[in-house]
């Protein structure tokens, strides 16, 4: 049981749960215009989990940790800002 619930397994369960949650949020109507922003934030959190725990960026050199985290931030910002600008033009 302890072996089954090692850190990579817990991270995998969390990632699967977050993925299903993001589809539920996108398909649901309860968050209205904010659902897309929540979906992107969930994706950014998932991406960070993979980079930190599966790619083991915590053990990588400081500059790689910074660059990979920055990339993750810019991808999420690109989608959120693009989506928000689209909402304003509708």
């Amino acid at each position: 049981m302890i072996r089954l619930l090692s850190r990579p397994t817990i991270v995998w369960l969390l990632l699967c749960g977050l993925t299903i949650l993001s589809v539920a949020v996108a398909e649901g109507r309860w968050l209205r215009g904010f659902s897309s922003i929540v979906v992107v934030l969930i994706a950014a959190a998932k991406s960070r989990l993979v980079i930190q725990h599966y790619m083991e960026a915590t053990r990588a050199a400081k500059h790689w940790r910074f660059l990979y985290a920055t990339w993750n931030f810019f991808v999420a910002a690109t989608i959120i800002v693009g989506y928000a600008m689209g909402m304003r033009t509708l």
């Binding site: 990579p8 397994t9 991270v11 995998w12 990632l15 699967c16 993925t19 299903i20 993001s22 589809v23 996108a26 398909e27 649901g28 109507r29 968050l31 209205r32 659902s35 897309s36 979906v39 992107v40 969930i42 994706a43 998932k46 991406s47 993979v50 980079i51 599966y54 790619m55 083991e56 053990r59 990588a60 050199a61 790689w64 660059l67 990979y68 990339w71 810019f74 991808v75 690109t78 989608i79 800002v81 693009g82 989506y83 600008m85 689209g86 033009t89 509708l90």
Partner: protein
């Protein structure tokens, strides 16, 4: 079977950057290229919002979800393969890599079925800008999956004889890093194409 001295290698491994410096550089360059593509996609989406929103409704988000779960699972299995190789357990590492390869194949089959359904419905890269981007982005990602599968198959072939050796562990870590990057890309592509603006 654990090779002699493998735990020493594992201890050393736990203190250094996984993989080689080159793979971290390569992945970062690839990341920047994808960021540019995402930027172009969002720019084009703003210009033709109606076309993008309408076209997105024809995508099957359950197929995208299935592929996301497949890649997440394969990433997890690759982590287990790397851990087994660090401990010198070649047989276990080989088994995990076999499962990861099969999951990569499942992703490809699901993607091909999705492409086939789209083309049958008359939705091709020439249909409109949204579908041009859809096919372009997902096909580049598909090629990354194929490349990852080739690397995984190569490591699987070497695992039994070389698990525990420093060279093999570093090589497998490089493959693992690339495979996790492929997973991270799909984590970004899935909401970008399938989910954002859907509700």
């Amino acid at each position: 079977m654990q090779q002699p001295g493998a735990s020493d290698i594992f201890d050393r491994e736990s203190r250094r950057t996984p993989g080689s410096e080159g793979i971290w550089t390569f992945i970062f360059i690839d990341m920047v290229i994808f960021q540019m593509i995402f930027l172009m996609f969002m720019g084009e989406r703003l210009r033709r919002l109606g076309v993008f929103v309408e076209s997105q409704r024809h995508l099957n988000d359950l197929a995208g979800l299935l592929n996301a779960l497949i890649l997440l699972t394969s990433s997890w299995v690759v982590v287990l393969a790397v851990r087994a190789a660090r401990k010198g357990d070649g047989a276990l590492s080989r088994r995990h890599l076999g499962v990861a390869w099969l999951l990569g194949l499942a992703f490809c089959i699901n993607k091909i079925i999705e492409y086939y359904a789209k083309v049958q419905a008359g939705l091709t890269p020439a249909s409109n800008p949204f579908y041009s981007y859809y096919y372009f982005i997902t096909f580049i990602h598909f090629l990354h999956v194929l490349a990852g599968m080739i690397f995984i198959a190569y490591c699987r072939g070497q695992a039994r004889a070389r698990a525990g050796s420093e060279g093999f562990v570093t090589g497998l870590e490089n493959v693992g890093l690339f495979w996790h990057f492929v997973d991270v890309l799909w984590i970004c592509i899935f909401p970008l194409l399938y989910l954002v603006g859907r509700s």
